[in-house]
Amino acid sequence: MSTQPTTARHSVTRNSRRKFLLDSARAGGAATLLALGVGLYSRQSVSLPASAIRPPGALDEDDFLGACVRCGLCVRDCPFDTLKLATFGDKVTTGTPYFTARDVPCEMCDDIPCVKACPTGALDHSLENIDNARMGLAVLIDEENCLNFQGLRCDVCYRVCPVIDKAITLEMKHNARSGSHALFIPTVHSDHCTGCGKCERACVLEDTAIRVMPFELAKGELGHHYRWGWKEKSKAGKSLVAPDVEHQYNMPQGQSYDLQGEGLIIEGKNAAGADDASPFGGSPLDTLNSNNFNTRGAQE
């Protein structure tokens, strides 16, 4: 009588412990599956399409995705309705802010309200001068259609740039097609371009020839051991390689050679070359009128 309830209770606790373990295993399994699924999905959706630009001050994409809570306060405080929140199904990570420069570019507000509005610091609050923003980098991507590349003076992208003459300049090149004109090539400089996209918005072509791209697409990277000699030289204030040993030519008697100056120097001959040591006169006309030349002409 006294043992029976105890065994019963034992089996009850054993059963419930088994049930608990089983339940936990199943719940844990379900959670793991879900996490794996979401994890895979999140890996897939971190690649930002090149046309989607983050707001000014946005942290590096990896950090940004851990910082932005998808609240849209930056979107709300942008006076130009530049920014949008990505919706589920967009190519941009769901809920995060971005803009498409060809639709509405960033107007580079002096007070940067979008950054001020961000509660999390996903838009870095240390960005106080909008000229220091690096949302991306403009690249003149279609040289075949850009009007300036054909020798016309469109210049629109250059004119609209808020950082004109620093972020974008017109570089003169020879126009080989006409032979006698210049090409004014719009040229973007990465140390000043903010990636605002006003140039991309303004390009007069049917589809733009100049586009703001993420840095990692727009920029190459120099081999880490490469040095530009002329920069190193001006930094050091002198040449960094030992000067060449003066070259000695083994010339016939009475002749010498000056590599960077006159060239062949024949002793006893003056600069005008009027000397009979040479078979040729100093003036090309003498050569043309010489007998050698005429003889050859007669032979033919």
């Binding site: 959670a31 950090d63 995705l65 910082a67 949008k84 809920g95 509005a117 509660p119």
Partner: protein, 315 residues
Amino acid sequence: MNQTHAARHPGAEAIADKGWLAANKWLLARRGSQLSILLLFMLGPWFGIWLIKGNLSSSLILETVPLTDPYILLQSLFAGHTLESTAIIGALIVSAFYILLGGRVYCSWVCPVNIITDTAQWLRDHFKITGASSLSRNTRYWILAATLILALVTGGIGWELVNPVSMLHRGLIFGMGLAWFIIFAVFLLDLLVSRRAWCSHLCPVGAFYSLLGTHSLIRIRADARDQCDDCMDCFKVCPEQQVIRPALKGHLKDSTEIIGPVITSSNCTNCGRCIDVCAKDVFHFGLRSNNTVNHTTNSKNINKQHNHSSGVEVL
């Protein structure tokens, strides 16, 4: 008696006794609260009245008071981001609110998905859809842990890619895109797969808020539990049925230890639906304190409970 109870819908007796309005007052208040919070957020984009900006993840009231969802903030911390003070202040304000009022007040009074899942449950009852998967109610805590580990491992807030709660709220304010698919999936899950599958078994947001409200001040109390006539209506409407029993019956299933009348489980969402549907006015909102046992009522209650035990086992 059991048959008549099964045949009519839960709360019919309460409506007959108290009138329709009184028998639905907390439900109406909750819907009012959920919809007006949504409306407050919509006033801006719709009418240019910016009382509150942002969404449930983070917002700003009247350009001054910040509010931030502590759960998403926690994920951000796990992802390795050091936050601006604005977000931290916002999260402290929100946390304080739910720590006091009951964590899952978020679920029943704020969360827009609750309207969807309640509708699914209503349809489920209406069309008598049965069939349940035996998923544990603790699955949500595992998922909660999984979302945090995900943030830790990937360095991003992965859960926000699929979170139906923020997706619906943000979507209604900023544009849904294809988010309706996810919301519809949650609806179908609750309608067809299992009773209260999403909110009471899986949702890590609800799980987080339940942990936040473990010691909340405001609780549902079954002080008049000796009036209970075992009609089971409260069990039928409660999204977290398991929380009612100890407080109502005064003891756990396989124990005779007497328990006070306060529903202490943090998974009670403080929705007040049990108050609505009880014709005997057993339940009311109260404080957590003074959870003492009135011995006379309880012995009586337990005796009665033993007589009707089969009725309870049906659950």
